[in-house]
């Protein structure tokens, strides 16, 4: 009798353990972010901003360190060359060469368009907010081109100071984010970031072409194509500073 009870307990524990081995949404998302950001990165990116009546091409270089720090510097066209954005933790500064001045962005401006593109300042450094301020669950999984594709839904924690009502990710089992859909507070899809090409870059698989499409505007998108990338190298401390933002040392 006693051993039966013990047996039942063991079985129950085993069943629970088995259920626990189902994919953990938090872990999948964190791995994907770590893969994308790495310890540090330096990438060369071409950005195309498309509008119904015009299209712009910008060249930029981006550096990141850890989860929160990033620096982006525009190289071309001449009109925009020298503009730079620095993100340190939650603070963002922009440098404009014409003004020769560094301006700290007010928090209220973080959702404004970044350099006229469909990305906001918030998107810039792939803020870790999505990991810390949202709860995650695996909504579905499917097989696609020999990979498992998890669909993860991120819903803001109660009272979290965030913009989106929901974010849905499609993440491949090799930690690549394939698609990201942002829902507004009414849970209507507002915009979608899609990975369009994956290739080896700096010794790892990397989404080398991604397009952000606002879903409420016709014929409007921004594509970023990464042509060069180095990851996990040592970055000098001066790099992510205001003085380097204004007077680049390299």
């Amino acid at each position: 009798m006693r051993s039966d009870l013990a047996m039942a307990l063991v079985l129950a524990a085993a069943a629970q353990a088995f259920a626990g081995s189902a994919p953990d949404a938090d872990a999948i998302l964190e791995r994907a972010y770590a893969h994308y950001r790495s310890q540090s990165s330096a990438t060369t990116v071409a950005m195309t901003v498309h509008r119904p009546d015009w299209e712009r091409h910008l060249d930029l270089m981006a550096w990141t360190r850890g989860q929160d720090d990033g620096l982006v510097r525009f190289m071309a066209p001449a009109k925009d060359a020298g503009n730079a954005t620095l993100k340190l933790g939650r603070d963002t500064w922009v440098f404009n060469p014409r003004l020769n001045q560094v301006i700290k962005l007010p928090a209220s401006m973080m959702n404004q368009s970044w350099m006229g593109s469909d990305f906001s300042y918030n998107d810039l450094a792939k803020s870790t907010e999505i990991i810390t301020e949202y709860t995650h669950r695996v909504a579905a999984n499917e097989q696609s081109e020999g990979h498992t594709l998890w669909t993860i839904e991120a819903v803001p924690k109660p009272g979290a100071p965030v913009v989106w009502g929901k974010v849905a990710f499609k993440i491949r089992d090799d930690d690549l984010i394939i698609e990201e859909t942002f829902f507004d507070q009414d849970l209507k899809p507002a915009r979608r970031l899609r990975t369009e090409r994956i290739a080896m870059l700096g010794g790892r698989l990397y989404p080398v072409a991604m397009t952000m499409v606002p879903l409420d505007a016709a014929d409007q998108w921004t594509r970023i194509e990464t042509s060069e990338g180095h990851f996990d190298m040592k970055m000098p401390d001066y790099f992510f500073t205001l003085s380097n933002l204004q007077n680049p040392r390299q």
Partner: protein, 383 residues
Amino acid sequence: MAIAAALLVFMLSFQIGVYGVMKESTLRILDGYAQFQPDGYAADPGLDRSIVDPDALIRDALGIEGVTTAAPRVNGFAILAKGERSFGAAVIGVDPARERQVSSIAAMVRDGRYLEPADTDTAVIGSSLARNLQVSVGGTVTLLGAARDGSVAADVLRVVGIYRSGIPELDRSILEMPLVRAQDTFAMTGRASTIALAGRSLDGLDAALAPLRTLAQRNHVALLDWTALEPALHDALALKYATTALLYLTLVVVVAFIILNTLLMSVLERTREFGMLLAVGMRPRLIGRMVWLELLTLALAGCAAGLAIGAAATSWSQHQGLNFSGMGELLSQFGLPARLYPALTPASALIGPGAILLAVVLGGIVPYLRIAHLTAASAMRGA
């Protein structure tokens, strides 16, 4: 009755006067009496929607009777920075000379001066914004935003004036700069975001809406009248009119009932007299008509007296203005001056007394019917 009629004349005139001032002064702050806007701009304002060749449109608009000013504007959005401090704000490029005639911001400059036609790198900002940025007249602010073509809009402007409207949103979030400079900064050369229209009066401009609408259609832009520019104000006034109409209606009904009651009493007291008249051969209907005429004469005299008293009091206060200086702060929130003037118009003068008169005339049917059914014998006995 005379007092009630006088009261109605005064109240209605005061209401129309105050609401008129409220409408005009609210619209005068920034909106103008009407605006040309690119199609879809109201729902989704942005530099990507703009009016091409605004000068031609302005020339045509000024040719329309009732339009005295048409002020082109470029509406941008930018980060304003001063040292360590930075705030988001609406940046409006204005033609200083024309803007002065549309918007009262020029008159609200408390410190320094308003923009002038020869200005280039100058700006006028709201008092709260100036305080937040810790900038005073003579200081500079840095402007950073996105231009129409997606490039960076950056500029450094010298603050020449600080305005205070008493409306927190305006004082906190608006910078005005010269139009040409703004067109250059925001890559809007030869374009405008909106064109604000003004006339000698709101009614005058409203009368010109039809030809303005035709002009707008021809140029493929939208024309927004004041109700579209300030829908909240329009709804608030409509609600206000509806609730006070109820009040007036109550007053009219009460007055009419008091008069009818008095009259019915006198009819009852005179029943024997009517019986006599019937006995000597007068027809009941004729007696009824006589009583009804008495009533009408009484009402007419009362209303005329009321109209005279009300109109006299109203036109006196229209001349003097009513001082509400104790409520100045509250009134300025609505863009109202501390001294308010009733507006005596034919409508405001006649509606109140007219309603009383009509109520009495209709109510007079009751005694008429009563008399019409009298017979000589019962009337003389009944009394």
